[in-house]
Symmetry: D3
Subunit: 186 residues, 6 copies
Amino acid sequence: MPVVRVTLIEGYPAETRRLLGERLTAAVRGTMAAPLEGITVAIEEVRPDNYMRGGTSRVPGAPSPDPQALVRGFLEAMEARDLDRASEYLAEGFVMTFPGGVSFSRPEELAAWAKGRYRFVRKTYEGFDTALGVEGATVFCFGTLSGEWPDGTAFSGVRFIDRFEVEAGKLTRQMVWNDLAETLHG
Amino acid sequence: MPVVRVTLIEGYPAETRRLLGERLTAAVRGTMAAPLEGITVAIEEVRPDNYMRGGTSRVPGAPSPDPQALVRGFLEAMEARDLDRASEYLAEGFVMTFPGGVSFSRPEELAAWAKGRYRFVRKTYEGFDTALGVEGATVFCFGTLSGEWPDGTAFSGVRFIDRFEVEAGKLTRQMVWNDLAETLHG
Amino acid sequence: MPVVRVTLIEGYPAETRRLLGERLTAAVRGTMAAPLEGITVAIEEVRPDNYMRGGTSRVPGAPSPDPQALVRGFLEAMEARDLDRASEYLAEGFVMTFPGGVSFSRPEELAAWAKGRYRFVRKTYEGFDTALGVEGATVFCFGTLSGEWPDGTAFSGVRFIDRFEVEAGKLTRQMVWNDLAETLHG
Amino acid sequence: MPVVRVTLIEGYPAETRRLLGERLTAAVRGTMAAPLEGITVAIEEVRPDNYMRGGTSRVPGAPSPDPQALVRGFLEAMEARDLDRASEYLAEGFVMTFPGGVSFSRPEELAAWAKGRYRFVRKTYEGFDTALGVEGATVFCFGTLSGEWPDGTAFSGVRFIDRFEVEAGKLTRQMVWNDLAETLHG
Amino acid sequence: MPVVRVTLIEGYPAETRRLLGERLTAAVRGTMAAPLEGITVAIEEVRPDNYMRGGTSRVPGAPSPDPQALVRGFLEAMEARDLDRASEYLAEGFVMTFPGGVSFSRPEELAAWAKGRYRFVRKTYEGFDTALGVEGATVFCFGTLSGEWPDGTAFSGVRFIDRFEVEAGKLTRQMVWNDLAETLHG
Amino acid sequence: MPVVRVTLIEGYPAETRRLLGERLTAAVRGTMAAPLEGITVAIEEVRPDNYMRGGTSRVPGAPSPDPQALVRGFLEAMEARDLDRASEYLAEGFVMTFPGGVSFSRPEELAAWAKGRYRFVRKTYEGFDTALGVEGATVFCFGTLSGEWPDGTAFSGVRFIDRFEVEAGKLTRQMVWNDLAETLHG
């Protein structure tokens, strides 16, 4: 039954406001046993010249780049082997860890290492999840891998999950688990 | 700079209200590029007799069982091999999927299958993540496994991640990835 | 001195919002001894895409057909002897009760019974009152009747009052009192 | 789906706040086709020292004497033939009108006139309705009369309705309709 | 950290709303040790037909003539020796008091008296201050005087301050202090 | 007719809230021609654990030392010739300016200079005014001086006004005007 009202400076795109409404609803829903239909969210927009902080009018801030969209962008660049574009998504100090605990800090290192493991790999996504935190977000994607082993044999349906930490619009960490070893030896 | 106000019936425990405040803050934070210090959340409690829906006074609903707490409870019961208690956390239709795509619907099935794989296994958690959705929540935990192989050899530091779907206070799905195969054959 | 604020989805006609403002004012006025000038009502409209219930955007509901307008419509149809149109205003189970406790459930029955009582009758309204309840509304109209007795003699100025119960846009009950017997025999 | 919030000075009795909540709900319900369960009313009480009008703190006004309670009080005094107490409910200029259009301005006049009509009369109430207006309220009560004719014969089940206008805590007008003539001559 | 929200009828000019926002910010700032950046003011405008007081729609009131603007207008008229225009700024009962405690109630009296003191005088303003009160405002201006003594000698840089009481759009009192005597004899 | 609502963390003293209410009223009053009785201010207090900024609960800030109280404190210390205590009210860079444009930065300098001008002086206050600004406040006091000239002759009723600039709880500037020269030579 809770009612959530947000005072916002006018000017955010509809998609940003829709996402905000959904996420505020989810925040209530995950915390108290209110029936979904009983959660009301109203966004009250005020014109920039009707909003002051510290005695000064404000314009709306930029919509935050959606954490999930960042992760999708990075994954697409990696799959297209556009390593320069992929690198733009990464924060200083980014680390990616793969099965067996192998770690890299740059897409180029991963590409070099992968060469000995498979000719190519493609991801089919079953789902994405985004965990929002006060300091940043964590994004997960899972599904199956398909591709070719170094000897040209095809594989598919290999389970995987990726976990990404996102802060201030950049990826700071990627963790990867999959069933490649299981498939190879299982 | 957004201001979020929530009208709530008086009576929710402090911890529930603290979680709610944090999650509403995270919902804003993940959607617009507002500086963290600029996000204000105020919970306005009204006495039950000052709150009416449909012309009838209401009492506060139960705090929702925290999705992460449910997952921790289930994992503890499983580690303690208390399969009855573990089963209480599971919804009708629950499915758990393990590396290689092996699936079970009851803890007993998992226990039987695991016997041939390791003597015992213990989880050390590096972190938990909760992704709140309008319909339910997804909880992730990751870290390392340690235990003994069937022949008594010890293993440790084996990477794992679990993904749980939670709906209406019950677990509906568990997905598991780990490096056991990698460790065994890698 | 009370301040009433209503959060409403944008799109209700001005007349609906005017009626709402007046009725909220009357609700306060009838309950606490606030001076009329001290009761403030502000309707805060939010755009449909800024309003969510259960995580889903909503459009404004239809303005409710005004209970008094329904009653007037029924009375006009009856006076015009348009019994089909009159019947459309009536809910399943409608009952009308007349002086002496005579009851009918269909306009046709009333018309047949009235034939022996007067050639025709016309209502002059002094006033209408609407009592709003949580479950439905009660509408009253009162004034005087004029017409002709079966023998052609005219009568006028005969006091009457009707009481109508209205629920979900239909009339469920009509009760009639008047001075016809008083006039005839008084 | 509308949300109604009322800012009120702390201190009104629970019954007054309950009535207010119900009437605000009814005001919305009677004006727009919102499902009853979708109408939320929250009364936000502020301490007297947190409320200022014109720069001056205020104490809560008196709860308004409920119009229906006033009418019941008057009717009880009349039935008990306590004409002095009954008179205290009446505003300057009060007029009561009875079947046949007979009018009185004081309870004593009614009592004198009634003597020739019946030995005594008692009301059994089927219901009360209150129509709230910005300027005042109208209260209706209806049911059946029982009593004795001047010759000692008993009567009962005689339909009646009373309409009262209430303003500023006093009754300003009473209008009465009943089936006594119908019963006598019908 | 306080959040101030004002419900206002739509239609006030931007400058009036800007001033209002600034003054509300200053009111908070002068009363509690909140960091300036932590004070949020949001003006929530409602359309005139969404605002009712006493059950009647309202149009926005006139913006109040700014007290400081009134004082500036009066001072300009005085400096231009347009005594008629200057008089229009003055309330019934206006009194002006000068160094030595000399008092006048009309600009003409001041002009006559000043003739023996200097040929002319001009004000250079260093600043204006406005103290807002519930009943009215007090406006101060200070800076330096320049002009000519009766003998034609020039003077300049003579410190002065004026204090004006403003009520209901008119000046009710002026008090003047300056260093003319100090300059003459110092 | 404007309604001002302030969301405040619970815990500010009643006097601070009273001052806040009065000053918000004055801010509205000085900006728009609303009748004083039509300005409503409601302070909505939320418990510290119901208030979060940046995802962290907050306690109420200190009430700001009232600018006028600071000025009174300084003036009392000066009159009591307690120069140490007086100095505590002063900000780094404080400057005081007296008739004739004489300036000092420390109370001791003023005391030394004053010795040649009067044996002692005492202030009788007619009034205090406080002009609140976004960056700081300006406080004025005016009234009359009495005391003794160096030769022991008494004086009294000498008009004066002081203007103080206050920022962050300290006095940054004092400006003094009075009729002492006028009195001496007038």
